[in-house]
């Protein structure tokens, strides 16, 4: 059902054939019985206003049920601001992490925080493509929820955002009308990795004793996780799905160090920690 909704969305925006491959992956994720929070994040990232799924399924505790459909499914509303085109922060965009895979919740959350803006701009489909009417501030970019790989040209710089929508970057603030014309389609992006990428929680590192670190996070693998401090891999003394304890080497100097968590097939984003004397 989500595939239908997402395809409808993209088709309604005049994009022609949607990017099947990555959308298929999102569709499969949403329809699976697991990964409820990740599914909602993807629906919000894509700006899909509503979807249909099992009535008592995983979405029922996270989204507003709008109605019950004849086939036994329920229609769920994703009540975030999701216009076809909105103003987004240039400053935040420059710091957005790359989305490393379908289950990269850290990067997806950052994307949703950046993209889920209420400041709509004018958006109109024309025979040639799209027309955007926007009054820009000095820190504004325009996010158009149309697939970049469909191919667009314009007299302002265009690029793909981290999930493949089109980002418009006028060089000067002020009111302006921007035309996007259909051009040469871009290569379809490769499939998302489906690895479960571990994540260290903000302020999720404690140092209860000298040289001992307790790391809290998500998607750690019990018995299979290790820490990487700077470039040195340290085996877990204890590890569960949400916690990893490691002993620092005696030669670790007090001060700021980089910490990552490694699981089979994936490594978390680094955070800085202060090792106490």
């Amino acid at each position: 059902m989500i595939r239908v909704a997402a395809m409808s969305l993209l088709l309604a925006l005049g994009c022609g054939s949607p990017r099947q491959t990555r959308l298929d992956q999102v569709h499969d994720l949403v329809q699976s019985p697991d990964y409820a929070a990740e599914s909602v994040l993807w629906l919000r990232a894509l700006g899909i206003p509503a979807t249909e799924a099992a009535c008592a399924g995983k979405l029922s505790q996270l989204l507003q049920q709008e109605s019950e459909e004849p086939g036994g499914d329920c229609r769920y509303r994703i009540d975030g601001p999701a216009a076809e085109a909105v103003l987004v922060s240039r400053n935040q965009y420059e710091r957005l992490p790359e989305i490393q895979g379908l289950l990269d919740t850290e990067a997806l959350e950052a994307y949703v925080l950046w993209s889920e803006r209420p400041e709509r701009v004018g958006f109109e489909r024309t025979p040639e493509g799209l027309r955007i009417d926007a009054d820009l501030g000095p820190n504004d970019l325009i996010l158009a929820r149309v697939a970049f790989d469909e191919g667009w040209s314009s007299d302002v710089p265009l690029s793909a955002d981290p999930i493949g929508y089109t980002l418009i970057a006028p060089e000067h603030p002020g009111r302006r009308t921007i035309e996007l014309r259909r051009s040469t389609p871009q290569p379809t992006p490769p499939l998302w990795s489906q690895s479960e990428i571990p994540r260290i929680l903000p302020e999720g590192v404690a140092q209860p004793g000298q040289g001992y670190l307790v790391i809290y996070g998500e998607r750690f693998m019990p018995g299979l996780s290790s820490a990487i401090v700077d470039d040195v891999e340290l085996p877990g003394v204890y590890s569960s799905a949400n916690q990893l304890n490691v002993q620092l080497p005696a030669e670790t100097t007090p001060g700021i160090h980089q910490l990552r968590v490694k699981t089979p097939g994936a490594v978390s984003r680094p955070i800085e920690i202060e090792v106490l004397p």
Partner: protein
């Protein structure tokens, strides 16, 4: 002589307010909710007044019309009003002001400008320019004049308020990475609104309607500080907040405190699993902190109307999903309300009449009524009051202390 009378009025005003009965002091807020007949705003107003409460808070602006979902392109039937005054002409909004059962109406309101897709709330994510300043001044003045002319003979209070300045500061800082710009924008914006309200009051000195401009904050002990790539609320000494960086630079008639920081959990631990009775201690402490911080920012009008009691509670509520697992919403709400009333907050507004839509992992279940229009049954002793609604009913009839006695807190 005139000064003596003014002084006497200033001294007596707090006495009058402290005697303000619970039904006038306590109110409900309604923001976004799944659709209801005839519309969410009318349904919420009816729910509020049928319960016997005389204070009601709503949003008046371009982004939500209480019929369509938030920011829906078809809101206001595709004809989004260009100003708050124009929105107030829409019958369901006008009916709120005209409802004789309400003694106080709080309007969370913003001026509008067109940034390309029709009227939208004034954009504070960019430097507050003359264009924004003029629009805000003109539209708040227009709204104030409309209220004072059309409803001027009514013995009501209308409060114009912003929504949680700290959220706006954090939003601007995250958008621009410029905390100084965030504070400057909010200062300029609030002072512009205050000037417009003062101008309108000066034009209509003899009306019965009391028009008040409130400045709403939500952070007292925490600070907005950069954590990694984002600005967030943190128990840091570093950082900024509306209390520390805006309040000293503005003038307002009243301060509105959105009180979750005090009531949800101790700010030091942010662990919501703490004894309900400690909520009163924290709220008392924080209301006094706000009063001290705001002392120099209250207008002469605010001083004359509210004396030293110039801090209201603009939002207060507990999410069922969080607090029913931790021993219950009802005891927490009782201790919070009791503290607010003892602290003589002129108004205490509960968030909210109907449940908001679910959206991911956000705290959910604040509604007096759920999606089935039922008062959610909460943890309560066998013979006590078992929902927010029934506990409020009992309190309106017998006093707030009756809630405590009934449920044996």
């Amino acid at each position: 002589m005139r000064r003596r009378i003014a002084l006497l009025v200033a001294l007596l005003a707090p006495l009058a307010l402290s005697a303000q009965p619970l039904d006038e002091r306590l109110g409900l807020y309604q923001w976004v909710s799944p659709s209801r007949a005839p519309d969410v705003l009318t349904a919420a107003r009816e729910q509020t007044t049928e319960l016997g409460l005389k204070t009601f808070r709503l949003y008046l602006g371009a982004r939500y019309d209480y019929q369509q979902p938030y920011l829906h392109p078809d809101r206001f039937a595709g004809q989004v009003p260009k100003t708050p005054a124009a929105a107030l002409e829409v019958p369901r909004y006008r009916a709120v002001l005209e409802d004789p059962r309400l003694s106080t109406v709080i309007l969370t309101t913003y001026g509008s400008l067109d940034y390309g897709a029709g009227p939208d709330d004034v954009n504070l994510l960019r430097p507050f320019s003359n264009r924004e300043r003029e629009a805000v001044y003109a539209q708040v003045l227009e709204l104030s004049q409309l209220l004072l002319t059309r409803f001027g003979n009514q013995p009501k209070t209308v409060i114009l308020a912003n929504n949680e300045a700290d959220e706006k500061l954090m939003e601007i800082a995250n958008y621009t990475d410029d905390p100084a710009l965030a504070a400057d924008n909010v200062v300029d914006w609030i002072n512009t609104r205050q000037r417009a309200v003062e101008e309108a009051r000066a034009q209509f000195p003899d009306v019965r309607l009391r028009l008040v401009h409130a400045f709403e904050i939500s952070v007292v002990n925490l600070r907005i500080a950069k954590k990694g790539l984002r600005y967030a609320k943190a128990a840091d000494d570093e950082g900024f907040s509306a209390l520390t960086h805006v309040l000293p630079r503005i003038r307002a008639d009243l301060i509105s405190y959105s009180a979750y920081e005090s009531i949800n959990s101790p700010f030091e631990t942010r662990d919501p699993d703490s004894p309900p009775e400690q909520i009163a201690v924290r709220l008392n402490r924080d209301l006094m902190r706000i009063r001290r911080a705001a002392a120099e920012s209250i207008s002469d009008f605010g001083r004359s109307e509210f004396g030293g009691e110039y801090v209201m509670i603009g939002e207060l509520g507990f999410a069922r999903e969080t607090f029913e697992r931790l021993g219950g919403v009802l005891p927490r709400l009782y201790y919070a309300l009791d503290a607010a009333v003892r602290q003589r907050c002129p108004w205490v507004v509960l968030w909210q009449t109907f449940d908001a839509p679910r959206l991911g992992r956000r705290a959910w279940g604040f509604g007096l009524r759920d999606d089935s229009d039922l008062a959610p049954k909460l943890i309560a002793p066998d013979r006590g009051c078992g929902s927010v609604e029934t506990c409020i009913e009992e309190s309106l009839e017998h006093g707030l202390g009756h809630w405590k006695e009934l449920n044996d807190y």
